[in-house]
């Protein structure tokens, strides 16, 4: 009846008109109650289940809790759903998809953030790739705490949503003002959609953030002084003994460290890989790059890339080495020798920013195309303002 026009994201055009006819409003009161009753008792769910909370949601649909009892059925298409149940970590790459699906749902619609990851990003919330709470870009109606919440909590969340639907239609929306003493208690303290003092254009910005490249200043000015760690000898067992004479005799490597793979000159390492492949090291296990920022003693910024190969079959042997190049130079690609190096090198380019010369398709593989910077560089700030959705 007394639908609070400003509190809801939708309105009934014709129904509102009818309410303005004198005398009709009284007659329509039971109709309105009936409509609200229908609205709150038929909440069809669009499960936006991305990780472990999704399993709990499934359990909620299954026999023990059975949310079908309250008329909640899952719909595969957002067009027919009323509630988006975000269950799981939403990454920055996923967020535009979630937003699009949310937009494609017809009004009236609601959103339930299930579990810590959806509410706040959980302990990934300062990570470069995770959205710190879906309420930075979606209007969330009910927050279900837990990590993950148990199936009963999902149903409880839906029951709370019913309360909210009813209250909103009755004209007193339930989350009007947050208690002031709790401001700032939540970290990271990012503007949320429900914040009163949130600039309205922020939402639009966040939508656009992942759709277009936002020009930003150079983020690489943050002073970071960390001693470059040596790549740990991750492969203590089974490291090949035939590697040492090979490196000393043919590749002129002077010393072979005990706790790290030997350093090979960048221009020779493709040849080394080919030689090892001929010796039976047929599988490229990993390509792992690390970033070493410039140090105070004059050592220039550099990248180290570690490679590991292994023989296939029983009694497998491992051969690993590393390559160190200044940040301005590139590492020759291993793609012609090992086809599997293609994506692994792309990944290192994506996350660390190492360039591989001769690589056939050097573009981002994990992060969105418009991502700025390389998040695993040591000078990449943890809470990067330029990262989308932040």
């Amino acid at each position: 009846m007394a639908v609070n026009e400003d509190a809801l994201a939708y309105h009934h055009p014709l129904y509102d008109l009818m309410l303005n006819v004198p005398g009709l409003a009284v007659g329509l009161a039971p109709v309105d109650r009936l409509l609200t009753w229908g609205l709150k008792n038929s909440l069809w769910v669009f499960p936006m289940a991305t990780s472990c909370c999704g399993i709990e949601y499934m359990a909620a649909s299954a026999s023990r809790v059975d949310i079908d009892r309250m008329g909640t059925i899952p719909r595969a298409s957002p067009r027919q759903a009323d509630v988006m149940l975000v269950a799981g970590t939403i990454t920055v790459k996923m967020a535009p998809r979630v937003k699009r699906l949310w937009d494609q749902m017809p009004e009236p619609k609601w959103c339930i953030a299930m579990g810590s990851c959806a509410i706040s990003g959980d302990f990934y919330r300062n990570l470069y790739s995770v959205v710190p709470g879906i309420d930075t870009f979606l209007p969330v109606d009910v927050y279900v705490p837990g990590c993950p919440p148990n199936p009963e909590a999902v149903m409880h969340g839906l029951l709370r949503l019913q309360e909210k639907v009813e209250a909103a239609r009755a004209g007193h929306p339930v989350n009007a003002e947050p208690p002031p003493e709790l401001f700032g208690a939540i970290s990271p303290s990012l503007p949320r959609l429900t914040d009163q003092n949130r600039p309205p254009e922020l939402s639009e910005e966040q939508v656009q953030a992942s759709l277009t490249v936002v020009p930003e200043g150079d983020p690489g000015e943050v002073p970071v002084d960390l001693t470059p760690p040596s790549i740990p000898g991750a492969l203590p067992d089974g490291v090949s003994t035939e590697l040492a004479p090979l490196l000393k005799d043919r590749f002129g490597v002077a010393e072979i460290p005990a706790d790290a793979p030997p350093l090979v000159p960048a221009e020779r390492h493709v040849e080394l890989a080919a030689t090892l492949k001929a010796l039976g090291y047929r599988q490229l296990v990993f390509v792992a790059a690390s970033h070493h920022p410039a140090k105070k003693d004059g050592e220039a910024e550099a990248f180290e890339v570690a490679y590991a190969l292994r023989t296939v079959g029983a009694g497998s042997k491992v051969a690993s080495w590393r390559v160190r190049v200044p940040a301005t130079e590139s590492v020759p690609t291993l793609t012609p020798t090992f086809a599997g190096a293609d994506w692994q090198e792309r990944e290192q380019f994506d996350l660390v920013g190492v360039r591989f010369s001769g690589h056939p398709d050097l573009r981002r593989v994990m992060l969105p195309e418009n991502w700025e910077g390389h998040p695993l560089r040591r000078d990449y700030p943890a809470d990067h303002a330029a990262a989308p959705w932040r």
Binding site: S63, R69, F123, R160, P178, L182, I186, T194
Partner: protein, 183 residues
């Protein structure tokens, strides 16, 4: 043919299921009994003297993997024992990012923080899920407390005692809010 046989078999199964009593426990009416170390929400306790058990040492805040606990240390004289000691001037547990991993309970030197057996109510705002100090002490009074606290968990790990540990009683009624309930 295989499909036909399997189809008949599955039809038999569903028919049997249909006449069996269903598993469903009707949630708002019937509550499933929770285990004693059920991980949900938190409460701060009073010690046996009736004073606040928390000394504000911040061990929980340091161990918390997702850094949701903020403790503000204050030193003052106790109103009950008249001794000067540490207190938490402010204690906030942000349930929105909590992992419910129980580490804070395990490290607490004074058994001040324990878990509850009932989950926190789903909230309409993020702020509804922030457990401020009054709410944490309120939880002690009004909600059933879990079995585990730091002392009991430590005792479980004592090699001399072995794995033998007093299995908690099966009562599911809310524990009385009396001081020392968890010591």
């Amino acid at each position: 043919m295989g499909y036909l046989l399997d189809g008949l078999k599955s039809m038999w199964t569903t028919a049997l299921n249909a006449i069996r009593p269903p598993f469903t426990q009707e949630f708002p009416k019937v509550l499933r009994p929770h285990p004693e170390r059920y991980h949900t929400s938190f409460a701060l306790l009073h010690d046996e003297t009736g004073d606040e058990a928390c000394t504000g040492c911040g061990a929980c805040a340091r161990i918390c993997p997702s850094q949701v606990i903020t403790v503000k240390l204050g030193k003052r004289e106790s109103a009950i024992t008249q001794k000067k000691r540490g207190y938490a001037d402010d204690f906030t547990l942000d349930l929105t990012a909590c992992l419910v991993c129980e580490l804070c309970v395990q490290v607490c030197p004074t058994d001040a923080i324990v878990m509850l057996k009932v989950p926190e109510l789903p909230g309409f705002r993020r702020e509804d899920l922030v457990l401020s100090m009054p709410r944490l002490y309120e939880n002690e009074k009004s909600k059933p407390l879990g079995w585990s606290n730091a002392t009991k968990l430590m005792a479980m790990q004592d090699p001399k005692a072995g794995a033998a540990k007093p299995e908690p009683s099966k009562e599911t009624a809310p524990a009385p809010a009396a001081a020392g309930a968890a010591s």
